[in-house]
Symmetry: C2
Subunit: 213 residues, 2 copies
């Protein structure tokens, strides 16, 4: 709702701004300038000001930015409805770790249910969250209307799951699989975390590093 014009690179910088501003806040700083933020972010004062002006501009000419105001404005941009609701599919090693992560380190995200097709897990809990049968996910989502599905399942399972994804009504997928979830529904917002790709890109850079910087 509202504010249409931030590009993806700007959106991806928002959490980093938020992180650094949180630190400044914790340190008791009340004001910060675009040049100070640029220094921390490894960018330029221009970029900082351009970025913030995508959202209307939070500063005062001649003064700088209020740390508290920046904090609450960016928090509100990232979580306009205070929090989003998520369910997790896949209670394996990765799923369990991600559940743990979301519960402990992702303030604005609620995790309400976990789904798995391993019958031995169904009915049990993981970090106090109930594990349901994967077959029941559409029904569950239609009733509880989560915003987000977190996919920590093997690629083959993702492929089977994808056709019913639209029926769940979620707006996005946090995708840890190598399956492309936007195939059936282009309007779905998919955030990919491709660990293997990340590691391979790192291998390339390590292996071809000419040290010339």
């Amino acid at each position: 709702m509202s504010t249409p014009k931030a590009s993806l690179p700007v959106i991806r910088r928002l959490p980093r701004y938020f992180r650094y501003i949180s630190e400044l806040k914790a340190m008791g700083k009340t004001r910060v300038s675009s040049s100070q933020l640029a220094e921390i972010m490894g960018s330029t004062p221009s970029q900082v000001r351009q970025d913030f002006n995508c959202f209307g501009g939070f500063g005062q000419q001649g003064i700088g930015y209020s740390v508290d105001l920046l904090y609450s404005e960016i928090e509100h941009l990232l979580f306009p409805n205070d929090h989003i609701n998520a369910v997790l599919v896949g209670a394996g090693s990765l799923g369990a770790t991600i559940a743990n992560f979301v519960l402990n380190e992702a303030d604005g995200v609620n995790l309400s249910a976990i789904f798995d097709n391993n019958i031995n897990l169904v009915g049990k809990t993981l970090h106090n969250i109930r594990i349901f049968n994967s077959d029941d996910i559409v029904e569950y989502c239609q009733e509880h209307k989560p915003d987000l599905i977190i996919a920590c399942i093997p690629k083959a399972a993702a492929e089977k799951f994808a056709p019913v994804l639209s029926a769940t009504g979620v707006k996005g997928v946090w995708n840890f699989t190598h399956y492309d979830f936007s195939i059936y529904d282009k309007s779905l917002i998919v955030e990919n975390v491709h660990l293997r790709d990340s590691l391979m890109a790192l291998s390339y850079r390590i292996s071809h590093n000419t040290d010339d910087e």
Copy 2:
């Protein structure tokens, strides 16, 4: 060593090319055109050809690209020395999951040791890999010369670890923490996997999705 000119966006596309080309290979396809690859990648034929030409060009005019040749060329670009050697710091929930991931799903990466400062874990094994005391990491690295450190430790631990990082002699860090490891050593290659940032960016996009695409 060699090939200096690929930009970061190009490097980040390499693993995706590799992934899709692996699939084509598995399907028994022997030839592929830049337009077919563009279709799969969600890009343009021009971009595909530009990308490959960063590395000398793997195609034949009038014919297209050999799937087998592309596969082996890109594999060699990503892992010029067949594999890279890594050690893991942090044997918690995330560390255990990542160890499991590297051992089972990251073909070109060897994991030879795990480090943790929890004395109860030291001496035990995780997925058959020996867990050492974190204090011994510099000594271990000087002897075994791994290419890469995988950091799955809390931010405070990362902060304490960072000053000795240079002494390990590794070329890069696969960084799951929110600590900026390049502070002490600018020449270090750091690949960040910031789960919280990724989730926040997704929350932004879900929450401000105007469905206008």
